[in-house]
Amino acid sequence: MLTQLLYIFLIVFPGTGGEICVSRAMKQVGEVTDFRPRAIARVIGRAMKVPWMWIGLSMMALGFFALLGMLSVANVSFVFPATALSYAVGALGGRLFLGERVTPQRWIGVLVVCIGVTLVFLGKG
């Protein structure tokens, strides 16, 4: 159980922090309006030149390896919902680090998601 909690911590915090950094990088790249493969490749190329992208990817890689480790010891239908605690961390991070306006409606949605996550946790067979 302790190992599973450690894995969840490693998936949630570095994973969510990494996604916030990636989000910041993509906002710097700018809104994508052309979805042809070449244009998408150019966007990815531009994104890879933004330092926030690399910081984010490194943190997400840590979360990913923790995910692989946890998948080898727990059921997939338990692992992914259990890691959804990252939604609360993500909403807070979006507000604090990305300056997003997290409205009460959005917070309510996140809260409902977290209750759902707790139920999924309790429902572990």
């Binding site: 993509m26 979805f35 300056g99 959005r106 309510i108 949605g109 998601v113 999924v120 067979g125």
Partner: protein, 140 residues
Amino acid sequence: MKAHQGLRLKTYILICMMILFGPLGDVVLGKGMKHIGAMASWAPGDVFQFFFRTFTTGTIWLGIASLMTFFVAYILVLSWADYSYVQPASAMSYGLIALLAYFVLHEEITPTRWAGVLLICLGVFVVGHTHPRTTERDPC
């Protein structure tokens, strides 16, 4: 108004791609990792063996390809939409994960866990009714 609808439409399309390819990659990876089994110990030899087995398994690469498709959709949508919108909206994938785990991996899913999945979907529905973008284009 048209621009607003266009923004929502392309946001929904990319989130749908995330919902489809994310769980698909996760389930395929799950199947691959179950096949490989747990790491014997944290000794360097065992760690190396574990990673070698992991990255020489075809199923793992199929899962990685799905997750890469997911990731491209993810970074594209983040170029305009809020992280606090995209992240919970993509939680719709939990419903799909539960279905795939039940029907493909034949895992047992308790009624409590189904209720949790339904609540997660309800939360996503609430978040989905907020505006996808609340910031200026460049936060830096």
